[in-house]
């Protein structure tokens, strides 16, 4: 039951003659194929060079079963209070560290966005600074701040803030570049300054993206052991690493579950917050 083909009268040959470009497109297709081929070739090279083999799969599965079996039932052992305390501590550190990093990164992100700072040099310089911040390992950030404030949660907050600044700056700048230009033009056209255009034309658009990135990093910092453990602030990640090291699988499972619940809660808050900002709109996609 399709509609009538009202297009049957169309003269294909004439159209083709008038718009030859629309029927070529071979160059793009070759380019696309070349990109895919290169990616596959690289993957092949990697597999070969890294000597990847699936040979031992069979025997190992038994041992996996042993470990996974050891994870049941998950149990806090005798450390429940310690774990909960560590979780709280971790949340506090991750929260402040992420927030501080985001606050520092915001102006940097604006400077690194091509749509805001068209000056190539400024833009280039800021982006390279951000690259450098990201390139420096978290362990090094930790050591730098241990020199200043000693071991402890404060050093963890600073190290997280520093290392996240690099990622945030990059992500924020890209969110900003991706924003729709029309509202920004709307604000500018009334005589608004660049600040106004950012505050009213840009921020409402990018806030959901930025909020989700901040919450994601908060979550990620909560579960990652690295910085908080290194700087001697304890934290849930330290306990997790410890339990893995001493092969206490039941407690590992318990800690993972604990973190999973925390992460799910953060995820829930994140969704709520973002949908409050962007408004929910769904259509039934067939």
């Amino acid at each position: 039951m399709t509609g009538p083909r009202w297009t049957t009268g169309v003269e294909a040959a004439a159209i083709r003659a008038r718009y030859p470009a629309a029927f070529e497109g071979t160059r793009e297709r070759i380019a696309a194929a070349a990109i895919v081929a290169t990616m596959l070739a690289l993957a092949g090279l990697a597999v070969w060079r890294l000597d990847v083999s699936f040979a031992r799969l069979g025997t190992g599965l038994v041992q996996i079963a042993a470990i996974v079996g050891g994870m049941f039932p998950p149990t806090p052992g005798t450390h429940l209070a310690v774990f909960m305390h560590a979780l709280g501590e971790t949340l506090a550190i991750a929260f402040l560290g992420t927030l501080t990093g985001a606050l520092i990164a915001l102006p940097l992100g604006l400077l690194a966005a091509k749509t805001i700072v068209p000056n190539v040099f400024a833009h280039f310089a800021v982006r390279r600074v951000l690259d450098t911040i990201r390139g420096v390992d978290v362990l090094i950030w930790a050591l730098i701040f241990i020199n200043v404030v000693g071991l402890g949660p404060f050093a963890g907050i600073l190290a997280i803030a520093a290392s996240d600044t690099g990622s945030f700056g990059k992500l924020f700048s890209e969110a900003i570049e991706n924003a729709d230009r029309k509202p920004v033009d709307g604000v500018l056209s009334t005589g608004g300054s660049a600040l106004h255009a950012i505050r009213w034309g840009l921020v409402p658009q990018v806030v959901p993206v930025i909020a989700s990135q901040i919450l994601y990093y908060f979550e990620s910092n909560t579960r990652s052991a690295t910085i908080i453990g290194i700087v001697g602030a304890g934290g849930i990640g330290l306990h997790l690493a410890e339990q893995i090291r001493v092969l206490e699988w039941g407690q590992v499972a318990f800690l993972v579950l604990l973190i999973l619940v925390t992460v799910a809660i953060i995820d829930l808050v994140s969704s709520r917050l973002r949908f409050a900002i962007i408004g929910r709109s769904t259509v039934e996609v067939g």
Binding site: A46, L96, T132, V136, P153
Partner: protein
């Protein structure tokens, strides 16, 4: 001038203003409440996190202390030799960097694939059935919450030592992390083009391909490349599965306090990060058409 002329009589204005206030009151209240909660959280976290600003300021002159140590002894007279001395293991590190890039590439590729498949099921604007969304979101959380080390250990048992367990662990984590970020990018798109395609009878795949992808591809690309960069730097898993790589060598150098090695490797890693970032930028600007706007 004009504005005054169009001013409404006071009662009518007051009425409208009241109407407006009532309309935004709930939102206002939520905003204020949110701010208060945030402020309380900051204070509490500040206490819990033993934040000590005066101490930080008093000791801030020590900020460059560690970095200072990293500087190699360079002299003008002997610059070439000094640099050669500094990068004494350049070849070896380059090889390690290459291996790391390959592992990270494989891990990222697999992870991005998985994330790409799952993200649409996890986003509320394209997936109406809440249970599918719930399952997808929890699955992604599981993948990024179970520590890479646990996955790595399990895979070592299954596949033996080597790169394979390393990049599988990376891939799973990458999938969990990117899946969430991708889903949120998708939730943030303009739905008008999607309506446009489905109104033409397009199915899910086609509307994703033509109405969603053009909007999200640049973000996907940049997230994926950022994750690639993170995977290049992530030393822990690689070292753990015995796959080495530049990250674990850097760790060793930091722990053994081979300062000049640390700075040499850092420079190489930072250069790599810069190259990846430049590539990302090129790709993104192409995708969002920034290049041809000017």
């Amino acid at each position: 001038m004009t504005a005054n002329a169009l001013r409404l009589p006071p009662e009518q204005a007051a009425h409208l203003l009241g109407h407006y206030r009532a309309g935004v009151a709930a939102k206002r209240r939520r905003l204020v409440l949110g701010m208060v909660v945030l402020a309380i959280a900051v204070v509490l976290a500040g206490i819990g996190g033993e934040v000590d600003i005066p101490k930080f300021l008093a000791n801030s002159h020590r900020l460059p202390a560690y970095v200072w140590n990293l500087a190699p002894p360079l002299s003008w007279a002997n610059l070439g030799n000094d640099i050669a001395e500094w990068f004494w293991n350049f070849d070896g590190w380059l090889l390690l960097l290459g291996d790391t890039l390959l592992i990270a590439y494989l891990g990222t590729l697999l992870g991005v694939g998985g994330a790409f498949v799952l993200c649409f099921a996890a986003s509320a604007n394209l997936e109406r059935r809440p249970w599918i969304r719930f399952v997808a979101r929890r699955l992604l959380e599981f993948c990024r919450t179970v520590p890479e080390l646990v996955f790595a250990l399990l895979f070592v048992m299954a596949f033996g030592l080597g790169a394979l367990p390393g990049f599988l662990a990376l891939a799973i984590h990458t999938m969990g992390a990117l899946g969430k970020l991708f889903a949120e990018v998708v939730e943030n798109i303009d739905m008008k083009p999607v309506e446009g395609t489905i109104a033409a009878g397009a199915g899910r795949l086609v509307s994703i391909r033509f109405a969603v992808l053009p909007q999200v591809l640049s973000n996907f690309a940049s997230y994926a490349l950022l994750r690639f960069e993170i995977n290049v730097r992530s030393a822990a898993v690689m070292g753990f599965v015995g796959a080495g790589g530049i990250g674990s060598d850097l760790m060793v150098a930091i722990r053994k306090f081979y300062y000049t090695d640390v700075s040499a490797m850092l420079i190489m890693i930072i250069a790599t990060v810069m190259v990846i970032d430049l590539l990302t930028e090129q790709l993104r600007h192409r995708l969002i058409g920034l290049g041809d706007r000017t």
